[in-house]
Every structure is written in C-alpha cells, then in structure tokens.
Symmetry: C2
C-alpha cells in the first residue's frame, strides 16, 4: 500500500530507489506465490540487488511490507494543524479525508492486493495490528497536544483509527470504485447512529 | 490476565493443572525478569514440569500468555443471548459488564501485571493486537447473526472491542480500585459525546 507522504530517501546514493525496487519485487512475489513461500534471496534476485542491501533497509521479511511511519506521522501532523476550534470528530474527518486523498485514492487495486497478502498470514496480521496500535499512539499524543484530557484523547484516537481501518477494508472491497472519503463518511455516519447510546 | 469462562481442562489426566502451573510460573518469571530474559526450560523448571509438557499446551513462549479463546467465545455467546429488541449499543454495554464481572473484577493487580509485561515487548504487543482482531471477528459474526448488515456489524464489533480495550487499560491504571463496569460506562459516555458528529 502507498505509504510515502514525503518522497525522500537518504539511501539513494547506494542504489537508486533500492527500497522501492525491493518493495515492488516483494509485492510481485507475494502476490504470485504468497508471503510464506517466498525467501529474501528470491526478493533480492527479482530486484537485482543483494541480500546485504535488503538488510540495510529491512530487519526481516515482514518489514518490506510495514516499513515507514508515514501514516502515523502524517496523522499526528494533520491533527496538530487542524483549526483549534474544530469539533474533535470533525478533526478526525478532516485528517482521514486528507490521508485518503494523498495516500490511497488512485491505488485501490494495489492496496487491495496488499490487504489480501496481509490478511492471509497470522504473522502479518500481528504486525499490521501493531501498526494500527502505533497509529493510535501517535494520534492520541496529537489530541493531548490539542488540549484533550488523556482518556478523551485515547477514545478519539481509537475512534479515528477504527474509522480508518474499517473504511480501508470496506473501500477495497466495494464493487464500484470511488474516492475513499465517501467510504469514510459512510462509516462515520453509521458510527454516529450506533453511538447514540440509549436513544 | 484471567481468561477462563468455563473451568475445564481436558488435559488434566496428564498432569493436574499443568497448564495453570505453567501459566503461573511464566507470570512470576516474566514479572521478575521480563519476557525476553526468560527461557521455556526456566518456566518448566519453576513449574516442576518438562519442556515436552510445555509444548503439549503451548506452541511457543508467547502462547502461555495468550492461550484460550474464552473472551471471544464468551463475547459471541453473550451477544447472541442478549434480548433481540435491545439497542445494539446497549448489547455492547451488557456484554462488557458481564465479561468485566466474570473475568476481571477481583483480579485487577494480576491484570495490571500482565498488561505491563505485554506492553513492554513488541512481539507480545503484536500478538495482543491480533487477539483483539480475533475478538472483533467473533463479535462481528455474532452481530451479523442478530441481523445487523455486514458493515454495521463491523462497526459495532470494533466499537465494542474499542470500549473494552480502552476501559481495560484505564481500569488497571486507576488510583482507586472499583468494579470495571464503572470504567466501561465512563468510556461509553465519552464515546457517545464524541461521536455526536457535527452536533
């Protein structure tokens, strides 16, 4: 899935776009034969690079999928940058729309393929779930910075990530492709109706 | 953390409460010296059992912490058993109160210690996050059984697990011990206020 907010690679002097080549090679091989069947030497061979180069970028076979903290960092920056008088739930909507537009729209098929690879393997589901937990932490810290009390910040962060994750899985599965912001709004509407506790 | 809804152990003929002894030994050792420093032979030595017995119960060192599907199974059963005309969010409250009372009240210190062990290690955080994802799946299936549309069921399941997870971390950290249902209600109230989108 697309994860770069700022296109920047300090390693570029070693091998032009080595990281991107490794990622694309891994994506092709995992799509063809599944994550478990593939070895790191197969990935590096496909990318025309060495195993040593692979380990310069990624600690293990999973990390070629999960590298980068762009989404947590982008989410935290966007929460911080939202107008200070905006209702927190509208902050969530604004941030998710921005991430959807900048990171996901136009990459639906590739995102769907990555989700299939991840959801088929328990070790990748573990790692993906931790990535989600890291996103919650980053968003929580940003809501605290905005002056929300701790527990409130936790709930807002969890809520935002919940909407993002549910909308992502829904969006890649929808029959008719559309901008991801539409799916985000649908999930937020459902949530609003459900959360009217006791109404 | 306490995870047994029904006290039942089909392996008891081999070693009386072997699983419980291994779990208690692991808990003591992880608390004393951290998860990473401990080996499986140290756990089995403390429990007075063999490594072979350990692997009869647990696939690896992590699983002594994460064995059992009691919480997902209990949650699914309780969702199914809730009155059919009950508002879905009140179903969530009913189920979480029941789990809090039967599984957590009276075990706050032990639950807090398990949470500290888990939160200190990335591999355990991964596995814990997957356990959360499994709970979402079980709850989602139960809401679909109740007749909720698929996306609605996903949102309800995610919402319920969100409340449970946030309330659990909050409850073990509270200055004054109290029944976990009180913390659950506080989180649900916050969520209700937050989710009044655009109000």
């Amino acid at each position: 899935m697309p994860r770069r907010v700022i296109a920047y690679d300090r390693e570029m002097r070693w091998a032009p776009d080595a990281r991107g080549r490794l990622e694309r090679a891994a994506f092709e091989l995992f799509s063809e034969r599944g994550f478990e069947a593939i070895t790191i030497p197969e990935i590096t061979a496909r990318a025309g690079l060495t195993t040593r180069t692979y380990f310069r970028y990624f600690a293990d076979k999973r990390e070629v999928i999960f590298w980068g903290n762009e989404v947590p960092e982008a989410a935290a920056s966007l929460i911080a940058a939202a107008p200070s008088d905006l209702d927190p739930v509208e902050v969530i909507r604004l941030v998710l729309h921005d991430i959807a537009t900048s990171q996901f729209d136009g990459h639906r098929e590739q995102t769907a393929a990555w989700r299939r690879i991840i959801n088929a393997n328990n070790s990748l589901r573990d790692r993906d779930a931790r990535k989600r937990a890291d996103l919650v932490r980053a968003a929580r810290a940003a809501f605290i910075e905005r002056g929300e009390p701790a527990l409130h910040a936790t709930v807002l962060a969890e809520l935002g990530v919940l909407v993002f994750q549910v909308a992502l899985e829904e969006w890649v599965a929808e029959q008719e492709p559309r901008p991801m912001a539409g799916t985000i709004d649908d999930v937020m509407t459902l949530l609003t109706v459900d959360a009217q506790v006791g109404s």
